[in-house]
């Protein structure tokens, strides 16, 4: 059972790593706008170019 002495710090360290990663991503602004990127991805410019190319 003594292994638990080692496991507890590891568990907490792991949690701390993830929290740090989260803080980093939040500060980078990854959560600032959650709605627009989801819609932006629907249209990619490639298809538009092909439409343009066909007609002109």
């Amino acid at each position: 059972m003594n292994i638990i002495v080692l496991l507890i710090p590891i568990a907490i360290l792991l949690a701390a790593t993830f929290v740090t990663a989260f803080i980093w991503s939040a500060r980078k602004g990854q959560y600032d706008d959650l709605d627009t990127p989801a819609m932006r991805i629907i249209f990619d410019d490639e298809t538009n170019k092909s439409v343009k190319g066909k007609k002109s």
Binding site: I12, A15, V19, T36
Partner: protein, 774 residues
């Protein structure tokens, strides 16, 4: 299924551009305006050039933003110049796609990024580019741009705040989750040294929550103490600290009653629901100031028979000022020119320019539509009508009393009750067992804390606001829901609210114009943005415009041009006595060949809506700046008695009338409504409102028409029902938990079970209560 349907019946179609299915008439090819524009831009080469021409004609309107002094207050980043805009009309992913292609349409734009959630757009401009041109291009794409002031509303302060809140939430979540992991073995029967170690680890994990995540609560609890108004945050803070101190005391005493997990859990959940609400709450337009409304910082003053440029601030009474075509009048004054067409839309919301004769009053902020006018200054700065309106608006903002919501009032009662009970209990039980007395009294405070209340209300409000937003209703503050339910009187503005605000072709003289003449008229109006042009295009959409040479448009007066060697003119004249009809005369080589009459029609849904509302509310009242005849006419058309229609009102009159009826809602759009909008309990601005009233309303409709009003009432009722149900659930939970605590039955284990149970119930109840409104 759609085979055999008549063409006018709506049917399911596939959009030519985005390939999504939509319901529409048979002729429709696109699901929305954005798709149509995108398709045209991609497939028709001329379309882009035409669009640039149209934009050039709109550019005048935004010219004042090119002045560097005014631009400074909007700049968020200097190199390259960055601006934030609020765009009216963003609805779907195609809109985002269209707007983010802005650099292709306007070569002055380096980058354009849309934020869909708050309908805002961030643009980066080249050094050489004109902001006015970009704004005009955006308007031509079909969105009405409003510049947002730097710092106040949006970036970067707001962004930082949101990020901070999210990080607090994340930290609380991580710590809570880990505390729960360490507590599980203890609940499963772990005892001895290891259990003590686990409890100490929980304590360590609890500290970030206590000192970092809970900070916003401390701030607002302190504020509520300072201003002696109890808010829900104060009991939260007390419960949090009681839970912490009790657990710490028991941990040191080596006793089993340790509540780190449940206390951390409730704080995390409250933070979650606050975050939901925060995310949905919209960024709103900042208050405009006088400078922006007057638009130009210099005026032409007559000085010893010469014209001299003078700063507007130094204008004095009796100065003679010259104002050229399409410029804004800098001060209130008397017209010296023999006649002039003036666009009063800022003050009245009326889109048709009015004819003014020599000696009549003209007002600051209105726009000159005829060639050039001279006027004698009477009032300047804050003495002008618009200046004093702004001043009064500012004052009314401060005078508005803060509204105590049901939740806040309940929290007040609850906290007093809980504290009294626990104090009485502590005193009585002290003789039996001092230790147990403290233990149970603190447990009562932790368990009976209105945590469910603090969690359920914002969640219900947030979901309702999200629902409302989907229907095109933007609500500034969650307290609005409760205010709407207390409404007894509803005030309507006439122009643009009860009526369409657009001109519709009513009749022509002679009754049948030839198709040739119609298509010439269409050709003349083809590129115009004037309401008349829109009305003509709508009425004769089946005809193709005739080619016109040398087309000249003079805003407010009309258009002219040559077709097959003949000179044609269209001139608008307003005849106010005649039921608000607008007369447009058509001249061929200076001979009258016909008249067209336009009227601002009552909205189709208005009579039915008013009938429904009349059953529910005491008084429905029309307020208008228009002529008595027109107003009474509109009133009788929608069933409002003449003694409840008020006409020829100025902004102050509207506000005064509104004050006579407490508990009222006002719906309007013009600048003359803004003062009334800010003084009623709930001010609603409809789509197409002027900036001034947008800024001073509580609710804003992004869809046209009055239908959103009914939906707003429905949503508010639904939200309030949900909130009440949530309150009932949480009170039940609080009283059960509280009595168990007093009886000494509460173990940490029971608390850990009770809390998610009540939360789960509240989440279910909130989502059930936020089912869609139609």
């Amino acid at each position: 299924m759609s085979i055999g349907l008549v063409s006018s019946v709506p049917q399911t179609k596939i959009c030519d551009y985005c390939h999504s299915a939509f319901e529409a008439q048979a002729e429709a090819r696109f699901c929305c305006l954005a798709c149509e524009k995108l398709y045209l831009f991609a497939n028709e080469n001329d379309y882009r050039n035409q669009s640039l021409d149209r934009a050039a004609s709109l550019q005048n309107k935004y010219q004042h933003f090119d002045e560097s002094a005014l631009q400074q207050s909007y700049l968020i980043e200097k190199n390259p110049r960055q601006f934030n805009l609020y765009l009216e009309g963003i609805q779907c992913s195609s809109c985002i796609h269209l707007i983010e292609k802005l650099p292709q349409f306007d070569d002055g734009v380096l980058n354009a990024v849309v934020n869909f959630a708050n309908s805002s757009l961030k643009i980066e401009l080249k050094d050489t580019a004109n902001l006015s041109k970009t704004l005009a291009v955006i308007e031509d794409l079909g969105y009405r741009p409003f510049l947002l002031k730097a710092g106040e509303n949006s970036d970067p302060l707001r962004k930082k705040e949101n990020q901070d809140f999210l990080i607090r939430l994340g930290v609380a979540g991580a710590c809570t989750g880990n505390i729960m992991l360490f507590v599980v073995p203890i609940y499963s029967g772990l005892t001895g040294t290891l259990a003590t170690v686990f409890n100490w680890v929980s304590l360590v994990l609890f500290l970030p929550i206590l000192f970092y995540s809970a900070q916003p609560f401390y701030k607002s609890a302190l504020n509520s103490l300072r201003y002696r108004s109890l808010s829900i945050d104060l009991p939260i803070v007390i419960a949090l600290w009681s839970g912490f101190l009790l657990s710490l005391y028991n941990l040191i005493q080596n006793r089993p009653e340790i509540y780190f997990d449940s206390t951390a859990g409730f704080l995390f959940l409250i933070l979650c629901s606050r975050y939901v609400l925060r995310k949905i709450q919209n960024d709103f337009l900042s208050q405009p100031n006088l400078q922006e409304i007057l638009k130009d910082s210099f005026a032409d003053i007559q000085n010893q028979n010469k014209w001299q440029k003078t700063p507007i601030e130094s204008l004095k009474t009796d100065d003679i000022v010259r104002v050229t075509h399409d410029k804004t009048i800098p001060a209130d004054g008397i017209l010296l020119s023999s006649k002039a067409y003036i666009d009063f839309s800022l003050l009245t919301g009326e889109s048709v320019p009015q004819l003014c004769h020599q000696g009549s009053k003209v007002f600051a902020g209105t726009k000159v539509c005829s060639d050039e006018i001279t006027l004698q200054v009477k009032n300047t700065g804050s003495q002008t009508q618009i200046g004093s309106l702004l001043l009064m608006l500012e004052q009314s903002m401060y005078q508005k009393t803060p509204f105590a919501t049901l939740t806040d009032r309940l929290a007040q009662v609850l906290i007093i009750t809980v504290f009294t009970i626990s104090a009485v209990f502590f005193v009585l039980y002290f003789q039996i067992s001092p230790h147990e007395a403290l233990n149970r009294a603190l447990a009562l405070i932790v368990l009976a804390c209105p945590c469910a209340l603090a969690f359920g209300t914002p969640l219900a409000q947030g979901l309702a606001m999200k629902n409302a937003k989907r229907l095109g209703i933007i609500i500034k503050s969650p307290a609005t829901f409760e205010k709407i339910l207390r409404i007894e009187n509803i005030f309507f503005d006439k122009t643009g609210t009860l009526t369409e605000g657009d001109l519709q072709l009513e009749q022509t003289f002679p009754a049948q114009l030839t198709d040739e003449l119609k298509s010439i008229i269409l050709g003349l109006e083809a590129q115009s943005h004037h309401p008349v042009a829109k009305g003509v295009r709508k009425a004769w959409s089946h005809l193709t415009p005739a080619p016109i040479l040398n087309r000249i448009e003079k805003s407010g007066i009309g258009v002219s041009g040559y077709h097959q060697g003949h000179f044609y003119e269209l001139k608008a004249t307003s005849i106010p006595q005649n039921r608000g009809l607008l007369q447009v005369e058509c001249l061929k080589d200076s001979f009258r060949v016909g008249y067209i009459y336009f009227a601002d029609k009552l909205r189709e849904e208005a009579p039915e809506l008013i009938r429904q509302l009349q059953r529910k509310y005491k008084n429905l009242i029309i307020l208008s700046g228009d002529q008595p005849g027109t107003v009474r006419d509109i009133g009788s058309q929608c069933g409002i008695l003449p003694d409840l229609t008020f006409s020829s009102l100025r902004a102050e009159d509207k506000a005064r009338l509104v004050h006579q009826y407490p508990r009222s809602l006002m719906i309007g759009d013009g600048a003359n409504d803004s003062l009334a909008l800010s003084s009623v309990d709930v001010g609603v601005a409809v789509q197409g409102s002027v900036e001034l009233s947008l800024c001073h309303s509580d609710v804003y409709f992004t869809r046209s028409g009055l239908k959103p009003l009914m939906q707003l009432i429905q949503i508010s009722e639904q939200a309030q029902r949900t909130i009440q149900r949530n309150i009932a659930i949480s009170l039940l939970y609080n009283s059960i938990g509280g009595s168990l605590a007093l009886l000494g039955f509460v173990s940490p284990w029971l608390a850990a079970v009770l809390m998610p149970l009540s939360t789960g119930l509240l989440v279910i109840s909130s989502f059930w209560g936020a089912r869609g409104v139609r």
